[in-house]
């Protein structure tokens, strides 16, 4: 039996303005509203709206045979509520077909799991409520920010009522085994681990537009045969929704590819499964034992993209040192402002990696360098500290 699971994550951060030293103490609004709105407009036009239309077309054409998974961050949903209700509506329309499973994550797309477990739990629950509110379903499968995963995370999610968790199929932990099976973390009973097939996912995300690749051009037909012929129960193709139209611009043919892929997969007799389908239908193959957190980010696939250097560590440490005061204040606005500063992108912009990973950061970061990003972030944090001091 051959199955495939298509999973797309979607997220937009609330980027900060170039908050300078002279603003500390009197300017309590840290975000660049206009920039964030412009980013949202652009990504909506380049990706979200055309992709939603294509996926709707695929559902209409293939009916119950076609399904996939989406995970939207709380910050993105809020941005759409505020600026683009039309785009939010198009996601709601997709959800109404019943062919889309919504996957849980931290509301603020944060690194809370690594820094504060109570805060992590708060954000997981907040996200579940938000998904219920708009899409009428309760997420049962979870994916952490940056696909950060370890045994402990699976255990905690089990306690929170999830029956599945997604993770990177890291070769050092797979040890020669295939990612195309259902796994489980040690000492868990009711939660299964679903692993990304890194090779096949990256064939599309990283190599589709690479003209020097010996498989270039990659057609939907060719890709479907690769998936059909890969060993195992289910191939998990995970990628950001923004791959379409942003990382791979329209002229690469990425939209045509996704438009034809479901048909080509059908031709190869490949079934579509959602994450929850896998948990319910597939047998657990083995234990996937990960002691230290891994991620799907950068060449190291560890935590270094967000907390590899001293600036990132300092920013995180100072932010979470405010947790107690902020939460105890019971001031919803203050809690929200503090929470939005937890979004992982703020820390990702501060990494000082070079070469490919560095280029990728420069492409995504709104700042001229990690150093200016750090200066703005710490200035804003200094202002928030003053507010907290006044509250306590």
């Amino acid at each position: 039996m051959r199955n495939v699971c298509l999973y797309f994550n979607l997220h937009q951060p609330n980027r900060l303005k170039p908050y300078d030293f002279f603003q500390i103490g009197h300017d309590h609004f840290y975000e660049d509203d206009k920039m964030n709105k412009d980013f949202l407009d652009k990504i909506s036009n380049d990706c979200y709206l055309p992709m939603n239309a294509i996926m709707m077309e695929n559902i209409n054409r293939l009916g119950k045979d076609f399904k996939f998974c989406l995970s939207l961050s709380g910050t993105l949903i809020e941005q759409m509520e505020n600026h683009r209700p039309d785009v939010l509506q198009s996601f709601i329309e997709l959800s109404k077909t019943g062919q889309v499973e919504f996957i849980g994550q931290t509301y603020y797309h944060s690194l809370a799991y690594l820094n504060s477990l109570p805060e992590f739990e708060r954000q997981v629950k907040k996200h579940v409520s938000k998904i219920e509110e708009h899409f009428g379903q309760t997420p049962k499968v979870f994916r952490n920010t940056g696909m950060i995963y370890c045994n402990d995370l699976a255990g905690r999610l089990e306690n929170l009522g999830f029956h599945g968790v997604m993770a990177e199929g890291s070769p050092q932990y797979l040890q020669g085994r295939s990612p195309n099976y259902l796994y489980t973390a040690p000492h868990t009973k009711n939660i299964k681990t679903i692993l990304k097939n890194d090779k096949l996912s990256a064939d599309f995300t990283h190599r589709f537009a690479d003209q020097s690749w010996n498989e270039y051009p990659l057609t939907a037909e060719k890709y479907a045969t690769w998936i059909a012929n890969d060993e195992g129960d289910c191939v998990n193709i995970f990628m950001p929704y923004e791959t379409f139209g942003q990382h791979l611009s329209a002229d690469t043919g990425a939209f045509d590819f996704i438009k034809h892929l479901p048909n080509e997969l059908k031709k190869q007799d490949v079934n579509f499964l959602t994450a929850s389908d896998q948990v319910k239908q597939l047998e657990v193959k083995d234990v996937f034992d990960v002691h230290l957190p891994v991620s799907w980010r950068d060449s190291e696939k560890d935590l270094s993209a967000w907390s590899g250097n001293n600036m990132q560590k300092e920013a995180l440490q100072k932010l979470y040192s405010l947790e107690e005061t902020v939460i105890n204040s019971k001031d919803e606005d203050l809690i929200h402002v503090w929470s939005k500063l937890q979004t992982s992108d703020h820390f990702y912009y501060l990494n000082t990696k070079t070469e490919k990973d560095g280029e990728n950061r420069d492409y995504l970061s709104p700042y001229e360098s990690p150093y200016s990003g750090y200066i703005y972030y710490m200035n804003a944090l200094a202002d928030l500290e003053i507010t907290c001091k006044e509250k306590s």
Binding site: F22, E314, Y374, M378, L381
Partner: protein
């Protein structure tokens, strides 16, 4: 009497300002023009470079052809000149910018592809190759230094010499290494004495190990010169000790400080603010500022530090600040325009200048004018002028941190430093500087130079050039009200002098001194003084300060050796 004719060779001049050099040259020229017949030759002058009573020649505004005016091979000593004049490129001189503006952020290390010294094959051969229009094109985009700075320096010398052949002057006055070659050439051609003004040396920029074309040129120029005018005694020491220049011909002259318009503004945050202002390069000691900040922040929750400026050390300092976990209290502004700089000065509670080597340090003087108490390194010219500022060696972060903490917490000390430094600065004028310059002129000419000013100018031996003496706590007893503290029962002559050293001079000082401070002054003086009890001194001093001598007498009758 006939006015002295001075030929000044400059590089930067307003409105082309890249750093402190332009400001200093302008200040000197303005004051000098009042007393002498002044001609200034600059590589580039604009219509705005106008100064009353001075003749400013910008090489960009005239047509000159280089003529071969001297045969360099004739004299042994000028063989060395040839060696410099033929240098088109020397390693280690890429992007040299001795007075870079704050804007020029060096982000990456400079690549040095060439490692050999290039020399031109046809040098000093009359006007066959270049005209000054090609020369001038090198100065486009306001680039006063740049990769081809040697070539600019050499060509400038050629044009200046050609021009000077038709000028009348008594003394040549060259500023820094860029104009030294020109000065040497004109001296040789005219036989007139050469005075070199040292604003900044390669020692300041690159440290004591710096050698190479730049250092050699500075040393050669100052050896040939008839007198050297460093902008401080500190720099004079370097000229003597590091460059081996005869101290007899070194005449330190402090720069003037122009009065600036000041204002004060409340910070928008509740904490106190300590300010560092300047290029973030090794010379300015930014890493010491960060260390000082870490120490102060560890003790004091109510303070922020801000580092304003940009430079090749910025990234390193940012990362170190994060490592030291002071990221929320230690801020960076990057390059700031004048308006923002003034805003910071208006907000700051303490100014800190921990320079490793600072010929003068105009920014500290400006801070003092803004009424900010300053903590400055002893390795600066400013420390000689601002005698009431608190000083420490640049590496002595403990003492610098203590000074800052004291200034933040001790209101009396703070007031004293502010008022004292403010007075110090008042006497530092360009007119005063020109008096010193005239002394150097007199020395090189062998007769008293008198300008319009009737004041007699004696030819003096240069002032003592030993390392500038800085008082441990830089509060000078001059200009401070001093009372006879011995009138306080319990205080004898020895304790009085201990109190003076601790900054307590008047009855009022004593009345407001903290008990703990008095105790520590006594404790620091050794076991002999620890038994003295200062508990009634403040009370007595208050009566003395108010002139209530009768009441004081009555109180003292009740006391036993100053104790109850």
């Amino acid at each position: 009497m006939k006015k002295l004719k001075v030929l000044k060779l400059g590089w930067e001049f307003p409105p082309l300002i890249s750093g402190g050099l332009a400001i200093a040259c302008f200040g000197i020229a303005k004051a000098l023009a009042k007393q002498t017949d002044l001609t200034i030759i600059l590589p580039k002058a604009s219509q705005d470079s106008i100064l009353n009573n001075a003749n400013i020649i910008g090489l960009n505004n005239i047509d000159v052809e280089i003529s071969n005016t001297i045969n360099h091979s004739q004299e042994e000593i000028y063989k060395k000149y040839n060696a410099f004049a033929r240098t088109l490129f020397a390693p280690g001189m890429e992007n040299i910018s001795p007075y870079p503006s704050l804007e020029k952020t060096t982000t990456e290390g400079t690549s040095s592809e060439s490692t050999h010294i290039q020399t031109s094959t046809h040098t000093n051969k009359s006007s066959e190759t270049t005209t000054n229009s090609t020369f001038f094109s090198r100065f486009e985009l306001d680039e006063m230094y740049g990769d081809d700075v040697q070539q600019k320096v050499v060509e400038y010398a050629e044009y200046v010499a050609t021009l000077a052949a038709n000028l009348e002057f008594d003394v040549i006055h060259a500023h820094d290494w860029m104009t030294m070659l020109a000065g040497i050439k004109v001296k040789h051609q005219s036989g007139k004495p050469l005075v070199i003004h040292a604003h900044a040396l390669s020692y300041d920029r690159a440290g004591p190990d710096a050698r190479g074309w730049n250092y050699d040129l500075e040393k050669y120029g100052m050896e040939i010169a008839d007198a050297v005018i460093p902008v401080s005694r500190y720099t004079g020491t370097i000229v003597e000790k590091h460059y081996g220049i005869n101290p007899q011909k070194i005449f330190p002259v402090h720069n003037g400080v122009e009065p600036v318009k000041t204002f004060s503004e409340k910070a928008t945050f509740p904490e106190k603010l300590v300010l560092f202002l300047g290029r973030i390069t090794g010379q300015k000691g930014p890493e010491f500022f960060l260390e000082v900040a870490s120490k102060v922040i560890a003790e004091n929750d109510n303070v922020r530090f801000v580092m304003a400026g940009s430079g090749d050390q910025l990234k390193r300092i940012i990362e170190t600040g994060a490592y030291r976990k002071v990221g929320n209290k230690f801020h960076f502004t990057g390059f700031l325009n004048r308006e923002k700089v003034n805003k910071l000065l208006a907000m700051a509670d303490v100014y800190c200048m921990p320079s490793v080597s600072e010929p003068f340090g105009l920014s500290a003087a400006e801070a003092a004018q803004f009424g900010i108490p300053c903590v400055i390194s002893k390795q600066s010219g400013a420390a000689e002028v601002m005698q009431h500022a608190l000083t420490a060696d640049f590496w002595d972060v403990e003492l610098m941190a203590k000074h800052i903490t004291d200034l933040l917490e001790d209101e009396e000390l703070r007031k004293k430093v502010i008022a004292g430094t403010f007075e110090d600065i008042k006497t530092v004028t360009w007119e005063h500087a020109v008096e010193g310059i005239m002394k150097a002129y007199s020395y090189v000419l062998g007769y008293d130079v008198k300008g319009d000013s009737p004041a007699e100018i004696e030819i003096q031996q240069p002032v003592n050039l030993t390392t500038p003496k800085v008082k441990p706590i830089a509060i000078s007893s001059a200009d401070i009200q001093k009372d006879d503290l011995k009138k306080i029962e319990g205080i004898g002559p020895k304790i009085e002098s201990l109190l003076n050293e601790g900054g307590v001079f008047s009855y009022s000082d004593l009345a407001h001194a903290k008990f703990s401070k008095l105790k520590s002054i006594l404790a620091d003086a050794g076991s002999r003084y620890q038994s003295h009890d200062p508990s009634t001194w403040a009370e007595q001093a208050e009566l003395a300060a108010e002139g209530k001598w009768k009441t004081l007498e009555k109180l003292q009758d009740e006391l036993d050796g100053g104790k109850r």
